[in-house]
């Protein structure tokens, strides 16, 4: 992956130095009112990587993801993307920096058709590449192609998740943030979705930051992983290392492989 990362960094003159991570989070503290949710998180995502964040319910995984997107804002610490400080930026401006997010709970637009949902995803580019990207997304998710005229809310959970990812892809992001894409889905669909994430990464060189409960699948897929416990990153390493770590196994992988 390091070679792929270097390749893309060379193509992209905006990345100031080739060794600098695409996204870096330094000492970020986030509060909900007086309650501290993130207690000083450090994390990096390099270009071309799949990085996963695993942890139990309420550990702060989704909060970290939302904080990167500026909602809620970090009270302390800095978040840098492509060398630019985005800690205080409003959410919609962050989204325009070629970061896309598929938020937790999918959050598709239920009364709008699949086609319109995808249009919304491409709206920040003013639909400039819409036809091209629609084609691409439809090859990636053939299910969605059959359902372009259907309302988003009538799709099954798996299809909605596909739509959420597809919608995020429509903005041609460099970094894709995925929050629990496996939530509430059948194992077969989970496999499909993870396969697609892998494809996006390997074929298109897309950097992916994946927040997951499904630790086994996520760690198997990811190049690197972080483990979060009650607002702190407690462990980090390559996906394989974490997968073989006895602590991680005990905490997140008991109950067998899926």
């Amino acid at each position: 992956m390091s070679t792929a990362g270097a390749n893309i960094a060379m193509q992209n003159p905006q990345a100031s130095t080739s060794r600098q991570p695409l996204l870096s989070v330094r000492g970020v503290k986030t509060y909900y009112g007086n309650i501290i949710a993130l207690k000083g998180v450090d994390m990096d995502v390099n270009e071309g990587e799949i990085v996963t964040l695993i942890g139990a319910n309420g550990a702060g995984k989704s909060t970290l993801m939302m904080t990167i997107f500026g909602n809620p804002r970090a009270r302390e610490g800095t978040i840098t993307y492509q060398g630019q400080d985005i800690t205080r930026m409003p959410t919609h401006e962050i989204a325009r920096l070629s970061i896309a997010q598929s938020p937790e709970g999918r959050r598709i637009f239920p009364r709008m058709t699949v086609y319109e949902n995808l249009q919304m995803g491409a709206s920040m580019n003013n639909l400039q590449y819409f036809d091209q990207d629609l084609e691409r997304v439809c090859t990636l998710f053939p299910r969605l192609k059959e359902r372009l005229q259907q309302r988003g809310g009538t799709l099954s959970g798996g299809e909605q998740q596909m739509l959420a990812i597809a919608r995020a892809l429509m903005s041609r992001p460099k970094l894709l943030l995925l929050d629990e894409p496996s939530l509430g889905l059948a194992p077969l669909i989970v496999k499909q979705i993870f396969q697609i994430i892998k494809e996006l990464n390997e074929r298109d060189g897309m950097t992916v930051f994946l927040v997951e409960q499904n630790a086994y699948h996520a760690l198997k897929l990811a190049h690197r992983g972080y483990v979060m416990v009650t607002g702190n990153i407690t462990m980090s390493g390559t996906g394989k290392d974490l997968l073989n770590d006895p602590q991680v196994r005990a905490a997140y992988l008991e109950g067998g492989h899926h």
Binding site: F69, N71, P90, T91, H92, E93, A95, R96, A100, Q101, P103, G105, R106, R107, I108, F109, P110, R111, M112, T113, Y115, E116, Q119, M120, G121, S123, M124, N126, L127, R143, E146, R147, L148, Q149, Q150, R151, G152, G153, T154, L155, S156, Q160, R167, S171
Partner: protein
Amino acid sequence: MNAPSITTAAQTQAVTRSFDLNAALKDAFKTTLITLGLSIPILAYRTDQAGADLFLTPRWGLVAIVCAIVFGLRLVLHAFTASRAYGKATPSARQATEAVHATPSAFQHVSRFALPMFLGVALFFPLIIYLIQGGLTESRYWVDLGILILTYVMLGWGLNIVVGLAGLLDLGYVAFYAVGAYTYALLSTTFGLSFWICLPLAGILAAFWGMILGFPVLRLRGDYLAIVTLAFGEIIRLVLINWVDVTGGGAGISSIPRATFFGIPFTAGEGGFAQTFGLEFNSMHRMIFFYYLILALALITNFVTMRLRKLPVGRAWEALREDEIACRSLGINTTNTKLTAFAIGAMFGGFAGSFFAVRQGFVSPESFNFLESAIILAIVVLGGMGSQIGVAIAAIVLVGGPEILRNLTFLQSVFGAGFDPNEYRLLLFGIGMVAMMVWRPRGLISEREPSVILKERKAISGSLVKEGHG
């Protein structure tokens, strides 16, 4: 896909759609006979006492009316149960998970026939009334009613942008109506500006006030937003009452210059409209001009809304209604999106307001109370939020309904001479609201028509999905 298609399953199931009219008529007739039988001892004679003597007063007219009502109700019941049985046997387009190509949505049902019909009736309404009533002066009442309804159609369409499309509950819409009306009233009485100059100015000023309202309420949603907008409506009204120097206070502004036909006044004398076009002078000319003016304004509102829905800003409004957080993460500036919705909705309110002022020739704060806001909102909600045709139908029902009620004088023969149907207006209004909540909780036309149709227009399933989080 893998699951057996629901459509094919239903097609094999033979269900006759048309309900058996003969059987229904027969049954209704039987019921009527029973009613008649029961009426003879109960209703047909009234005992009147005159001194020591008792007189039987026959009341066969009443019996006939009761029988007719029973007959009609029985028929309606049959039609209702038949259509329900049909609906049960057919897969509902709303429940299917796949696009059901067989049954068009309610919107398409309505739009295919109703849209051209509505437009045609609206365009030729004065002519139709003229032919029915047999004279210009005789048709004054109906043209006046048409103007009133169209004003509310336009207001409903304007508010539909804010409430129906952007999903921002606005209880103070009448404030923009007032801004528009007072803009025309003040500019024309003070500076002598003509209606055609004031109309855009009224729209701009109302849009400006829409933004002023928009800024403080950007963070609010739902109930909280409703309360703030309600307060805004009241503030405008109270300012109009209390700022006596400018607005004339509670007395309002009178003798507002009347509209001219693009410079030609509607007067009897030299250079007037009638004389210029070689017609006999009739004050109805002005009314008919007003009718077409408000019709044009309303159609412009509709046209602009329909176009905006297909543009990024309109799509952003609808996405905002569906899910604000998702919107932001897709790079949509929710602040600007909300402000444009408020501003454009308010602008149409302002247009309608300046039309109101020029039609009445008099404005006072009385016309802009909370009840007006409530009626406009009721029109939007009953019509089906976001549906243009639904809003038009709801405006006709809610504004025209009370007028029809006023004319139901035959009810006096049933309930006695002192009966005034108009007094029961709010009661019927309430009953209608409750009935709507039970049968069509999401408005007359609740289906949302997609802004983009791929290839051919076909029925789209699942319009009744939950709003908000997917």
